[in-house]
Amino acid sequence: MSEIRLYDFELDENCYKVRLLLSVLAVPYRKMAVNMIPGGEHLEPPLLALNPRGSLPILLDGELVLSEAEPIMIYLARAYDAADKWLPSDANGLAMVAMWLQFASRDLHAAWRARRHAMFDASGDEQALHHAARRAFRLMDDHMTAREFDDAAWFVGTAPSLADLALFPAIALSRDFAVEHETYPALRRWMRRVRAIPGFITMPGIPDYY
Protein backbone atom coordinates (compact mmCIF):
# COMPACT_ATOMS: atom_id res chain seq x y z
CA MET A 1 0.00 0.00 0.00
CA SER A 2 1.27 3.44 -0.85
CA GLU A 3 2.12 5.86 1.88
CA ILE A 4 -0.46 8.38 3.13
CA ARG A 5 0.59 11.95 2.41
CA LEU A 6 -0.62 14.97 4.36
CA TYR A 7 -0.10 18.44 2.91
CA ASP A 8 0.40 20.34 6.09
CA PHE A 9 1.11 23.77 7.54
CA GLU A 10 2.49 23.42 11.07
CA LEU A 11 0.77 26.53 12.48
CA ASP A 12 -2.69 25.77 11.07
CA GLU A 13 -5.23 24.33 13.51
CA ASN A 14 -7.12 22.47 10.78
CA CYS A 15 -3.94 20.63 9.79
CA TYR A 16 -3.36 19.97 13.49
CA LYS A 17 -6.76 18.24 13.76
CA VAL A 18 -5.60 15.68 11.18
CA ARG A 19 -2.10 15.28 12.67
CA LEU A 20 -3.71 14.70 16.06
CA LEU A 21 -6.00 11.99 14.71
CA LEU A 22 -3.20 10.28 12.76
CA SER A 23 -1.17 10.28 15.94
CA VAL A 24 -3.84 8.77 18.20
CA LEU A 25 -4.60 6.16 15.51
CA ALA A 26 -0.86 5.49 15.18
CA VAL A 27 -1.19 5.59 11.39
CA PRO A 28 2.14 6.32 9.65
CA TYR A 29 2.17 9.06 7.03
CA ARG A 30 4.47 11.41 5.19
CA LYS A 31 4.16 15.07 6.09
CA MET A 32 4.42 17.39 3.09
CA ALA A 33 5.29 20.76 4.61
CA VAL A 34 3.54 23.61 2.78
CA ASN A 35 4.66 27.19 3.22
CA MET A 36 1.16 28.58 3.56
CA ILE A 37 2.17 31.81 5.32
CA PRO A 38 4.00 33.80 4.09
CA GLY A 39 4.74 31.65 1.02
CA GLY A 40 1.18 31.13 -0.23
CA GLU A 41 2.18 27.77 -1.70
CA HIS A 42 -1.32 26.39 -1.23
CA LEU A 43 -2.51 28.87 -3.87
CA GLU A 44 0.03 27.84 -6.49
CA PRO A 45 -0.76 25.48 -9.40
CA PRO A 46 0.62 22.21 -7.95
CA LEU A 47 -1.57 22.35 -4.84
CA LEU A 48 -4.55 23.92 -6.62
CA ALA A 49 -4.45 20.88 -8.88
CA LEU A 50 -5.03 18.75 -5.81
CA ASN A 51 -7.47 21.10 -4.12
CA PRO A 52 -9.04 23.89 -6.19
CA ARG A 53 -10.47 25.42 -3.01
CA GLY A 54 -6.97 26.46 -2.05
CA SER A 55 -7.19 25.24 1.55
CA LEU A 56 -5.18 22.95 3.77
CA PRO A 57 -5.03 20.19 4.88
CA ILE A 58 -5.03 17.89 1.85
CA LEU A 59 -4.76 14.13 2.29
CA LEU A 60 -3.66 11.63 -0.35
CA ASP A 61 -4.22 7.93 0.21
CA GLY A 62 -3.71 5.79 -2.89
CA GLU A 63 -6.06 7.21 -5.51
CA LEU A 64 -8.04 9.21 -2.97
CA VAL A 65 -7.56 12.97 -2.72
CA LEU A 66 -9.42 14.70 0.12
CA SER A 67 -9.51 18.24 1.46
CA GLU A 68 -10.96 19.89 4.60
CA ALA A 69 -10.11 18.53 8.04
CA GLU A 70 -13.47 17.05 9.06
CA PRO A 71 -14.07 14.88 5.94
CA ILE A 72 -10.45 13.75 6.16
CA MET A 73 -11.01 12.75 9.78
CA ILE A 74 -14.15 10.82 8.85
CA TYR A 75 -12.24 8.97 6.15
CA LEU A 76 -9.31 8.11 8.39
CA ALA A 77 -11.55 6.87 11.18
CA ARG A 78 -13.56 4.61 8.87
CA ALA A 79 -10.50 3.36 7.02
CA TYR A 80 -8.04 2.87 9.89
CA ASP A 81 -10.06 2.44 13.11
CA ALA A 82 -11.43 -1.07 12.76
CA ALA A 83 -13.18 -0.89 16.13
CA ASP A 84 -15.18 2.26 15.17
CA LYS A 85 -14.03 3.90 18.40
CA TRP A 86 -13.55 7.37 16.93
CA LEU A 87 -16.59 7.46 14.65
CA PRO A 88 -19.50 5.54 16.14
CA SER A 89 -21.50 3.24 13.87
CA ASP A 90 -24.86 3.57 15.67
CA ALA A 91 -27.28 6.14 14.25
CA ASN A 92 -27.39 8.40 17.34
CA GLY A 93 -23.70 8.45 17.99
CA LEU A 94 -22.82 9.02 14.34
CA ALA A 95 -25.27 11.90 14.00
CA MET A 96 -24.08 13.55 17.21
CA VAL A 97 -20.46 13.33 16.12
CA ALA A 98 -21.44 14.72 12.69
CA MET A 99 -23.18 17.63 14.38
CA TRP A 100 -20.08 18.56 16.38
CA LEU A 101 -17.84 18.13 13.34
CA GLN A 102 -20.00 20.64 11.53
CA PHE A 103 -19.82 22.89 14.58
CA ALA A 104 -16.02 22.65 14.43
CA SER A 105 -15.91 23.70 10.78
CA ARG A 106 -18.70 26.28 10.82
CA ASP A 107 -19.26 27.83 14.27
CA LEU A 108 -15.57 27.70 15.17
CA HIS A 109 -14.51 29.22 11.85
CA ALA A 110 -14.73 32.60 13.63
CA ALA A 111 -12.03 31.40 16.04
CA TRP A 112 -9.83 30.34 13.10
CA ARG A 113 -10.29 33.76 11.50
CA ALA A 114 -9.69 35.60 14.78
CA ARG A 115 -6.40 33.71 15.19
CA ARG A 116 -5.38 34.46 11.59
CA HIS A 117 -6.17 38.10 12.23
CA ALA A 118 -4.16 38.22 15.45
CA MET A 119 -1.15 36.20 14.28
CA PHE A 120 -0.88 36.86 10.56
CA ASP A 121 -2.72 40.16 10.03
CA ALA A 122 -5.48 38.52 8.01
CA SER A 123 -8.45 40.77 7.34
CA GLY A 124 -11.52 40.65 9.53
CA ASP A 125 -13.66 42.57 11.99
CA GLU A 126 -11.82 41.69 15.18
CA GLN A 127 -14.68 42.52 17.51
CA ALA A 128 -17.26 40.55 15.54
CA LEU A 129 -14.91 37.55 15.24
CA HIS A 130 -14.17 37.56 18.97
CA HIS A 131 -17.85 37.79 19.74
CA ALA A 132 -18.69 34.85 17.46
CA ALA A 133 -15.77 32.77 18.79
CA ARG A 134 -16.74 33.40 22.42
CA ARG A 135 -20.34 32.49 21.62
CA ALA A 136 -19.20 29.15 20.17
CA PHE A 137 -16.92 28.46 23.16
CA ARG A 138 -19.77 29.21 25.53
CA LEU A 139 -22.05 26.73 23.73
CA MET A 140 -19.31 24.12 24.10
CA ASP A 141 -18.86 24.94 27.79
CA ASP A 142 -22.62 24.72 28.43
CA HIS A 143 -22.66 21.36 26.66
CA MET A 144 -19.78 19.94 28.71
CA THR A 145 -21.30 21.38 31.91
CA ALA A 146 -24.48 19.41 31.20
CA ARG A 147 -22.45 16.33 30.26
CA GLU A 148 -20.67 16.39 33.62
CA PHE A 149 -24.04 16.16 35.41
CA ASP A 150 -24.42 12.79 33.65
CA ASP A 151 -20.87 11.82 34.65
CA ALA A 152 -19.95 12.00 30.98
CA ALA A 153 -16.43 13.11 30.14
CA TRP A 154 -16.63 13.56 26.36
CA PHE A 155 -18.70 15.53 23.85
CA VAL A 156 -20.48 12.40 22.58
CA GLY A 157 -20.83 8.95 24.11
CA THR A 158 -18.65 7.30 26.71
CA ALA A 159 -15.26 7.59 25.00
CA PRO A 160 -13.37 10.27 23.08
CA SER A 161 -14.50 10.62 19.46
CA LEU A 162 -13.65 12.70 16.39
CA ALA A 163 -15.83 15.41 17.96
CA ASP A 164 -13.37 15.95 20.81
CA LEU A 165 -10.36 16.04 18.49
CA ALA A 166 -12.01 18.47 16.04
CA LEU A 167 -13.21 20.84 18.79
CA PHE A 168 -10.00 20.90 20.85
CA PRO A 169 -7.66 23.05 18.70
CA ALA A 170 -9.74 26.25 18.55
CA ILE A 171 -10.19 26.58 22.32
CA ALA A 172 -6.71 25.30 23.18
CA LEU A 173 -5.26 28.03 20.91
CA SER A 174 -7.65 30.81 21.91
CA ARG A 175 -4.96 32.67 23.84
CA ASP A 176 -3.30 33.31 20.49
CA PHE A 177 -6.13 35.79 19.91
CA ALA A 178 -6.42 36.89 23.55
CA VAL A 179 -9.46 34.86 24.60
CA GLU A 180 -8.65 33.42 28.02
CA HIS A 181 -9.98 30.15 29.43
CA GLU A 182 -11.28 31.90 32.57
CA THR A 183 -14.97 31.67 31.69
CA TYR A 184 -14.97 28.07 30.39
CA PRO A 185 -14.46 25.86 33.47
CA ALA A 186 -16.00 22.72 31.98
CA LEU A 187 -13.81 23.12 28.87
CA ARG A 188 -10.70 23.46 31.05
CA ARG A 189 -11.43 20.12 32.70
CA TRP A 190 -12.27 18.54 29.31
CA MET A 191 -9.03 19.89 27.77
CA ARG A 192 -7.07 18.13 30.49
CA ARG A 193 -8.79 14.89 29.59
CA VAL A 194 -8.08 15.39 25.87
CA ARG A 195 -4.42 15.94 26.73
CA ALA A 196 -4.36 12.55 28.43
CA ILE A 197 -5.63 10.63 25.37
CA PRO A 198 -2.92 8.11 24.36
CA GLY A 199 -1.08 9.46 21.32
CA PHE A 200 -2.02 13.10 22.05
CA ILE A 201 0.36 15.59 20.46
CA THR A 202 0.61 19.37 20.73
CA MET A 203 1.30 22.10 18.18
CA PRO A 204 3.01 25.48 18.52
CA GLY A 205 0.85 27.55 20.89
CA ILE A 206 -0.24 24.55 22.96
CA PRO A 207 2.37 23.95 25.67
CA ASP A 208 3.34 20.32 26.09
CA TYR A 209 4.02 20.53 29.80
CA TYR A 210 0.98 20.04 31.93
Binding site: R138, D142, T145, A146, F149, D150, R175, E180, H181, E182, T183, P185, A186, R188, R189, R192, P207, Y209, Y210
Partner: protein, 237 residues
Protein backbone atom coordinates in the same frame (compact mmCIF):
# COMPACT_ATOMS: atom_id res chain seq x y z
CA UNK B 1 -12.28 47.19 45.61
CA UNK B 2 -13.70 47.03 49.10
CA UNK B 3 -11.89 45.11 51.82
CA UNK B 4 -14.24 42.16 51.98
CA UNK B 5 -14.44 38.51 51.08
CA UNK B 6 -15.30 37.71 47.46
CA UNK B 7 -16.09 34.35 45.88
CA UNK B 8 -13.75 33.61 42.99
CA UNK B 9 -14.36 29.98 42.01
CA UNK B 10 -16.33 26.84 42.63
CA UNK B 11 -14.08 24.74 44.87
CA UNK B 12 -14.84 21.40 43.23
CA UNK B 13 -14.17 22.73 39.74
CA UNK B 14 -10.58 23.53 40.65
CA UNK B 15 -8.73 20.26 40.15
CA UNK B 16 -5.51 19.34 41.92
CA UNK B 17 -2.43 20.42 40.04
CA UNK B 18 -4.22 23.11 38.01
CA UNK B 19 -4.37 26.88 37.95
CA UNK B 20 -6.67 29.39 36.37
CA UNK B 21 -6.67 33.14 35.96
CA UNK B 22 -9.64 35.16 37.15
CA UNK B 23 -10.50 38.77 38.00
CA UNK B 24 -11.94 40.88 40.81
CA UNK B 25 -12.96 44.38 39.72
CA UNK B 26 -10.59 44.01 36.77
CA UNK B 27 -7.58 42.99 38.88
CA UNK B 28 -5.96 39.77 37.74
CA UNK B 29 -5.74 36.85 40.17
CA UNK B 30 -4.43 33.33 39.80
CA UNK B 31 -6.12 30.59 41.77
CA UNK B 32 -4.47 27.19 41.95
CA UNK B 33 -4.70 23.93 43.81
CA UNK B 34 -1.54 22.12 44.82
CA UNK B 35 -0.97 18.37 44.71
CA UNK B 36 -1.88 18.08 48.40
CA UNK B 37 -5.29 19.65 47.73
CA UNK B 38 -4.84 23.15 49.20
CA UNK B 39 -5.99 26.12 47.15
CA UNK B 40 -4.10 29.41 46.84
CA UNK B 41 -5.05 32.82 45.49
CA UNK B 42 -2.29 35.18 44.39
CA UNK B 43 -1.81 38.24 42.32
CA UNK B 44 -1.48 36.93 38.76
CA UNK B 45 1.94 38.42 38.20
CA UNK B 46 5.39 36.89 38.31
CA UNK B 47 7.84 39.04 40.33
CA UNK B 48 10.51 38.45 37.68
CA UNK B 49 9.13 40.13 34.57
CA UNK B 50 5.42 40.33 35.28
CA UNK B 51 4.22 37.33 33.26
CA UNK B 52 0.79 36.05 34.29
CA UNK B 53 1.35 33.04 36.53
CA UNK B 54 -1.94 31.51 35.33
CA UNK B 55 -0.16 30.93 31.99
CA UNK B 56 2.39 28.78 33.81
CA UNK B 57 1.86 25.36 35.27
CA UNK B 58 1.45 23.59 38.57
CA UNK B 59 3.83 20.84 39.59
CA UNK B 60 3.48 19.17 42.97
CA UNK B 61 3.37 21.99 45.47
CA UNK B 62 4.72 24.78 43.37
CA UNK B 63 3.73 26.88 40.41
CA UNK B 64 6.23 27.53 37.62
CA UNK B 65 6.23 30.63 35.45
CA UNK B 66 5.88 30.13 31.71
CA UNK B 67 8.58 32.69 30.81
CA UNK B 68 11.77 31.72 32.62
CA UNK B 69 10.54 28.92 34.85
CA UNK B 70 10.91 30.57 38.24
CA UNK B 71 9.17 28.34 40.77
CA UNK B 72 7.02 29.53 43.68
CA UNK B 73 6.06 27.31 46.59
CA UNK B 74 2.73 27.27 48.44
CA UNK B 75 3.86 30.19 50.62
CA UNK B 76 4.43 32.22 47.41
CA UNK B 77 8.21 32.36 47.91
CA UNK B 78 10.47 31.83 44.93
CA UNK B 79 12.50 28.66 45.60
CA UNK B 80 14.16 27.91 42.30
CA UNK B 81 15.48 29.89 39.34
CA UNK B 82 16.45 27.58 36.46
CA UNK B 83 19.03 30.01 35.04
CA UNK B 84 20.85 29.91 38.41
CA UNK B 85 20.26 26.38 39.69
CA UNK B 86 22.73 26.70 42.58
CA UNK B 87 21.43 30.00 43.86
CA UNK B 88 19.81 30.08 47.30
CA UNK B 89 16.92 32.34 46.31
CA UNK B 90 16.47 35.30 48.68
CA UNK B 91 13.29 35.16 50.77
CA UNK B 92 12.33 38.61 49.55
CA UNK B 93 11.35 37.27 46.11
CA UNK B 94 7.71 36.39 46.53
CA UNK B 95 4.36 36.77 44.82
CA UNK B 96 1.76 39.08 46.38
CA UNK B 97 -1.07 37.00 47.82
CA UNK B 98 -4.71 37.22 48.79
CA UNK B 99 -5.95 35.56 51.97
CA UNK B 100 -8.25 32.75 50.85
CA UNK B 101 -10.35 29.90 52.17
CA UNK B 102 -12.97 27.43 51.00
CA UNK B 103 -16.50 27.45 52.40
CA UNK B 104 -19.96 26.44 51.14
CA UNK B 105 -18.29 24.94 48.10
CA UNK B 106 -16.71 28.23 46.99
CA UNK B 107 -13.15 29.53 47.03
CA UNK B 108 -13.18 32.97 48.69
CA UNK B 109 -10.48 35.62 48.53
CA UNK B 110 -10.11 38.69 50.71
CA UNK B 111 -9.98 41.75 48.44
CA UNK B 112 -6.79 43.29 49.80
CA UNK B 113 -3.28 42.18 48.87
CA UNK B 114 -1.03 40.71 51.57
CA UNK B 115 -3.57 41.33 54.31
CA UNK B 116 -2.35 39.16 57.18
CA UNK B 117 -5.40 38.95 59.45
CA UNK B 118 -8.63 39.73 57.59
CA UNK B 119 -11.89 39.67 59.50
CA UNK B 120 -13.50 36.23 59.46
CA UNK B 121 -15.93 35.28 56.69
CA UNK B 122 -19.39 35.43 58.29
CA UNK B 123 -21.08 32.50 56.60
CA UNK B 124 -21.23 29.17 58.43
CA UNK B 125 -20.18 26.01 56.63
CA UNK B 126 -22.90 23.74 55.18
CA UNK B 127 -22.97 20.64 53.05
CA UNK B 128 -23.54 21.62 49.42
CA UNK B 129 -23.74 20.10 45.95
CA UNK B 130 -21.87 22.15 43.33
CA UNK B 131 -23.73 23.10 40.16
CA UNK B 132 -21.66 25.42 38.00
CA UNK B 133 -20.06 28.81 37.48
CA UNK B 134 -21.95 31.09 35.12
CA UNK B 135 -20.20 34.03 33.44
CA UNK B 136 -22.48 36.88 32.45
CA UNK B 137 -21.86 40.07 30.51
CA UNK B 138 -23.74 42.30 32.90
CA UNK B 139 -22.82 44.53 35.82
CA UNK B 140 -22.89 43.03 39.29
CA UNK B 141 -25.60 45.53 40.26
CA UNK B 142 -27.80 44.31 37.43
CA UNK B 143 -27.22 40.68 38.41
CA UNK B 144 -28.14 41.40 42.03
CA UNK B 145 -31.27 43.25 40.89
CA UNK B 146 -32.32 40.27 38.82
CA UNK B 147 -31.69 37.90 41.71
CA UNK B 148 -33.60 40.22 44.05
CA UNK B 149 -36.69 39.80 41.88
CA UNK B 150 -36.74 36.10 42.75
CA UNK B 151 -35.22 36.50 46.16
CA UNK B 152 -35.90 34.47 49.25
CA UNK B 153 -33.32 36.10 51.39
CA UNK B 154 -29.87 37.50 51.02
CA UNK B 155 -27.27 36.32 53.43
CA UNK B 156 -24.52 38.81 53.83
CA UNK B 157 -22.98 40.55 56.74
CA UNK B 158 -25.49 43.39 56.61
CA UNK B 159 -28.59 41.76 55.23
CA UNK B 160 -31.51 41.68 57.57
CA UNK B 161 -33.35 38.68 56.28
CA UNK B 162 -35.61 39.44 53.37
CA UNK B 163 -33.92 41.84 51.04
CA UNK B 164 -30.95 41.79 48.80
CA UNK B 165 -28.38 44.45 49.46
CA UNK B 166 -26.05 45.83 46.78
CA UNK B 167 -22.98 44.55 48.49
CA UNK B 168 -24.30 41.04 49.02
CA UNK B 169 -21.91 38.46 47.72
CA UNK B 170 -24.07 35.49 48.65
CA UNK B 171 -27.73 35.03 47.75
CA UNK B 172 -30.03 32.20 48.70
CA UNK B 173 -32.99 31.26 46.49
CA UNK B 174 -35.62 28.55 46.47
CA UNK B 175 -36.03 27.04 43.02
CA UNK B 176 -38.55 24.27 42.51
CA UNK B 177 -37.97 22.75 45.91
CA UNK B 178 -34.20 23.17 46.05
CA UNK B 179 -32.42 25.79 48.12
CA UNK B 180 -29.61 27.20 46.05
CA UNK B 181 -26.75 29.47 47.06
CA UNK B 182 -25.33 31.90 44.52
CA UNK B 183 -21.99 33.55 45.23
CA UNK B 184 -21.53 36.65 43.08
CA UNK B 185 -18.08 37.65 41.81
CA UNK B 186 -17.59 41.11 40.28
CA UNK B 187 -15.13 40.38 37.45
CA UNK B 188 -15.01 43.86 35.91
CA UNK B 189 -17.24 46.84 35.24
CA UNK B 190 -19.27 44.83 32.72
CA UNK B 191 -18.85 41.17 33.69
CA UNK B 192 -20.03 39.12 36.65
CA UNK B 193 -19.56 35.49 37.64
CA UNK B 194 -22.23 33.53 39.51
CA UNK B 195 -20.97 30.47 41.37
CA UNK B 196 -23.92 28.21 42.09
CA UNK B 197 -24.40 25.35 44.58
CA UNK B 198 -27.40 23.49 45.98
CA UNK B 199 -27.70 23.33 49.78
CA UNK B 200 -27.66 19.68 50.74
CA UNK B 201 -25.71 16.52 50.09
CA UNK B 202 -24.68 15.35 46.62
CA UNK B 203 -26.28 11.92 46.91
CA UNK B 204 -29.66 13.68 47.04
CA UNK B 205 -29.08 16.53 44.61
CA UNK B 206 -26.74 15.36 41.90
CA UNK B 207 -28.10 14.72 38.42
CA UNK B 208 -31.65 15.99 37.89
CA UNK B 209 -31.49 18.94 40.32
CA UNK B 210 -28.13 20.07 38.96
CA UNK B 211 -29.46 20.02 35.40
CA UNK B 212 -32.63 21.89 36.30
CA UNK B 213 -30.72 24.63 38.10
CA UNK B 214 -28.09 24.87 35.40
CA UNK B 215 -30.84 25.33 32.78
CA UNK B 216 -32.48 27.95 35.02
CA UNK B 217 -29.18 29.82 35.25
CA UNK B 218 -28.71 29.79 31.47
CA UNK B 219 -32.16 31.34 31.09
CA UNK B 220 -31.21 33.98 33.67
CA UNK B 221 -28.02 34.71 31.70
CA UNK B 222 -30.02 35.15 28.49
CA UNK B 223 -32.38 37.54 30.22
CA UNK B 224 -29.53 39.54 31.75
CA UNK B 225 -27.65 39.86 28.48
CA UNK B 226 -30.59 40.78 26.28
CA UNK B 227 -32.51 43.20 28.50
CA UNK B 228 -31.23 46.72 28.46
CA UNK B 229 -33.92 48.03 30.78
CA UNK B 230 -34.41 47.12 34.41
CA UNK B 231 -35.35 43.50 35.01
CA UNK B 232 -37.85 44.60 37.63
CA UNK B 233 -39.17 48.07 36.81
CA UNK B 234 -38.97 50.41 39.74
CA UNK B 235 -36.77 48.07 41.77
CA UNK B 236 -34.53 49.65 44.34
CA UNK B 237 -32.39 47.83 46.79
Amino acid sequence: MQSAWYPIALAEGLERGTSVGTRLFGRELVVWRDAAGSSHVWEDRCPHRGMRLSFGFVRDNHIACLYHGWQYDASARCRYIPAHPDLAVPNSIRVATYASLERLGFVWAYGELDRADPEPLQFAERTVTPVRSLYVEATTAKVLDALASTIDRAVDNAASGTQCSRTASLVSLAISGDEILIAVQPLSEQETALHIVIAGPADVHRGASQKRISAWSEALRRKLETSTSQIRPGATS
